[in-house]
Symmetry: C2
Subunit: 493 residues, 2 copies
């Protein structure tokens, strides 16, 4: 018996193998950080080596994920100062006050003291399973101020990022493998991956590229009925607004139509509203929360809405702070969500603290107000400039069209790939937009996500690109991309 | 039609009701924060009211959960200073150095700079999905130093507390509802709750109270065979060492026997070792990691081992930092765990930073070393004193016996409840140890968890009590409990 066979036998004898583990986990797909970003990480390391000098670019740029601080966005000072001081209770004592007063503003010190109290004396303790109650109260006040309708802190749960809320809610709703959840095409792949992992069925509805990525509700109704005719117990619909990957914002009329359908057809709404402040053309495309519109319509549609500190102007992705608000949800059902939180223990407290500073920022007259406002405005204006600039640039490229940029951190341009390229790629059992994106990465160092990672209408090709590179790098970034695309199209046309 | 019926109909019309949601979630039980702690929270609020003066105690004491900072344990300064400074990159610039040098030691500043670099420039970005690689390297070095065997950072995953690792691993292993996971009786209810949620079967093995809560391996084998005879696909065994709720530590011989069984019977080991430094009688009951013993035995048993910053001397429960090490696990299986991390996005970065300070503490000669060592020693010695004192006190009570305290943060005394109390309680469809604990809470303000919350040998009754109240409150705490128990036993004997 040769040695290799022995090794193989040894491996196959393990209890856990790719065949024996949970196959629903195995079947999950997630493109935002799939093989293309892995390749980009490799190239990034190669650039540090002497052989990296052979590469046709000097820098890798990660436009695959909405991770602003990775690309140089500065953290918001107020948030970070409150976070830091909350870690240092001994500095909050009277005798140490003058030690810190030249570093921290008075409202930062007050807020850290308040958080200390709300956390029951120490931010190092497990908090309430659903999050520190005082912070949930701040969230409720923020929602009430945003929407003009009351919000109940006992119906708010804080989680490790909004991902934590979304995963928990889906798990609660999915009672068997016949349950269907409607998700938009294109969508953020957390949804399809989680639905696969939980053993249920994704039921697609479509965002119409020709209508600014709005929802064609009669087509949605058809998709719903078709799924129900196949015996699927369609219970809920995921709506991402502002959109990911599309960057578009739903109109009020579109939202009302969707809510009416959900009411009539008994669909729970999961409203992913994490980009609610990433709104760049506010007069033409304002953001409305589903909570507000449902309240205005006096509808009894069951709603979970999600928000986060990872996006917006804060971009504190690493802290994993998020919340969900439950509206029109049965109390017994909410109790089960609390029990789920209890078993997993509380969400991380630093993420909760960051959330507190986001929903309850400095007000006019507070010592930190001017700096806070200047920082937030600067980030917002810069995102807006980059968003518009990139959208314009994409529309100037050969065979690329891109809808107007309204919100979020992404553009989702359509690439009209040459037919010869499509045919040859498919004949090689490869995916055309994936191959386009790999070539873009290898030529320019720019990492984007192919549209197939988000699902897209069959026969169309896209990629998702963040507009997060810093402004001083932006012209170079556009120029590099443009050269690549022009050559690519020339070669295949 | 009267109004109430209308309301009921309205409720039953919701898509999500207690009947329609995931029934596996509904079936989860979790006692550590169940109705008794909820009652304790109520009483705590009542004490603030004027009517609280009628209560027979002045203070509620939460001995139900290992949450040391809630009960006044001070945070470790080095950990908190590094955490705080990592939030403030602008203070790390050269021109601000003298602003911070009177607050932060030089090794704190160096560490914060190192973390900044390891995190790719900003702790506010999403990190690697499996955690910052530099911190995983620190964890691997910590394990190697602890055990004397190599550890591979690519086989370490950082998570939101060790709960995050445990939930993820169980989900990977449980491929269908016929899978069985062996869990100790008594056990920490995260395991039974998660197994219920994931739709698999808990297969019990027993810790023998008469043998210092050790494992009778021949009885374990019987339990395993009996389950397999019933057709259950028993794949893994959970071992909590030092024990929760028992506070006991497995002997080396016992561990070797268990490993041999796992090797022969093809069981994956899930080693919950979060209390590995909570060891109070180190000469008689030292801690050995399963990784070390498996390595010494040159065994190919598949192992996941879990550790956390929530316990030990740090007690940073709120930060939710933890890790797991995978050993002898198939690479394809580990890749699936990485994909799970990718879909959920990275663990919270502040928890990762705290973990870095725990596994890579100040060394002799570092500016923070003396204070760090003094703080850790003081916490350790105090926990040890309280542990021994409480165990002695329990053994002096009427009808209570308690095994020697070896580790963790808990004692799990047995209460020999009077037969008349047991009969009357059971006749009322109530659980004897639950009723005992409720009366304890209502009489003394002390909140503990009844043994039935952890499962226990049938016909025996226990409760789990942390020894975390601060030392200046400890005598009062024991006296109050003693008075309650004496009166209780007098009344029912």
């Amino acid at each position: 018996m040769n040695r290799n066979i022995g090794v193989k036998e040894h491996i196959s004898q393990k209890v856990l193998s790719i065949e024996s583990i949970n196959q629903r986990v195995r079947n999950m797909e997630y493109a935002v950080r799939g093989p293309i970003p892995a390749k980009a990480e490799e190239l990034k390391l190669k650039l540090l080596d002497p052989e990296g000098s052979n590469l046709p670019f000097k820098k890798t740029v990660f436009c695959n994920i909405g991770n602003p601080q990775e690309l140089g966005q500065k953290p918001v000072t107020f948030l970070r100062q409150v976070s830091a001081l909350s870690e240092l209770p001994e500095l909050l004592t009277k005798e140490n006050r003058n030690l810190i007063s030249n570093i921290f503003n008075s409202d930062v010190i007050e807020r850290a003291e308040k958080i200390q109290k709300m956390a029951g004396g120490s931010v190092g303790a497990y908090s309430d399973d659903a999050g520190i109650f005082g912070i949930r109260k701040s969230v409720a006040e923020f929602i009430q101020k945003r929407d003009g309708f009351p919000s109940d802190p006992s119906k708010i749960q804080l989680t490790n990022g909004s991902t934590g809320s979304i995963e928990r809610t889906l798990e609660l709703i999915i009672s068997n493998e016949n349950v269907g959840i409607m998700i938009p095409i294109p969508q953020y792949p957390l949804y399809s991956a989680s639905i696969t992992r939980l053993g249920a069925k994704s039921v697609y509805y479509y965002l119409e590229e020709s209508k600014g990525w709005g929802v064609d509700t009669s087509r949605l109704l058809e998709n719903l009925k078709e799924a129900r005719n196949r015996g699927i117990d369609v219970r809920a619909i995921v709506i991402i607004n502002p959109g990911n990957p599309t960057g578009s914002i739903l109109t009020l009329e579109n939202m009302k139509d969707i809510i009416s359908i959900c009411e009539k057809e008994k669909l729970v709404i999961l409203a992913d509203e994490v980009y609610q402040t990433n709104v760049y053309m506010v007069d033409d495309f304002p953001f409305h929360s589903f909570k507000k519109v449902i309240s205005e319509m006096k509808s009894n549609v069951e709603l979970f809405s999600f928000h986060s500190i990872s996006k917006g102007m804060f971009g504190e992705c690493g802290k994993r702070g998020g919340y969900m608000e439950m509206y029109n949800i049965d109390q017994n059902v909410m109790d089960q969500l609390t029990k789920m939180a209890t078993v997993s223990l509380c969400p991380n407290v630093p993420g909760q603290i960051a959330l507190e500073t986001m929903v309850n920022p400095p007000r006019e007259g507070d010592e930190s107000y001017q700096q806070f406002k200047a920082e937030i405005d600067e980030i917002h204006n810069s995102l807006k400039r980059r968003c518009i600039k990139l959208q314009k640039a994409f529309n100037e490229q050969v065979n690329i069209t891109c809808n107007p940029a309204q919100g979020a951190m992404y553009l989702f341009p359509q690439i009209k790939l040459p037919q010869r390229f499509i045919t040859e790629t498919i004949n090689k059992n490869k995916v055309p937009d994936v191959e386009y994106c790999i070539e873009m990465l290898e030529t320019t160092g720019v990492c984007v996500v192919p549209g197939s990672g988000f699902e897209q209408e069959i026969g169309t090709y896209h990629f998702r690109c963040t507009f997060l590179p810093q402004e001083d790098e932006f012209d170079e970034f556009i120029k590099t991309f443009s050269e690549f695309n022009t050559k690519f199209m020339e070669r295949w046309n």
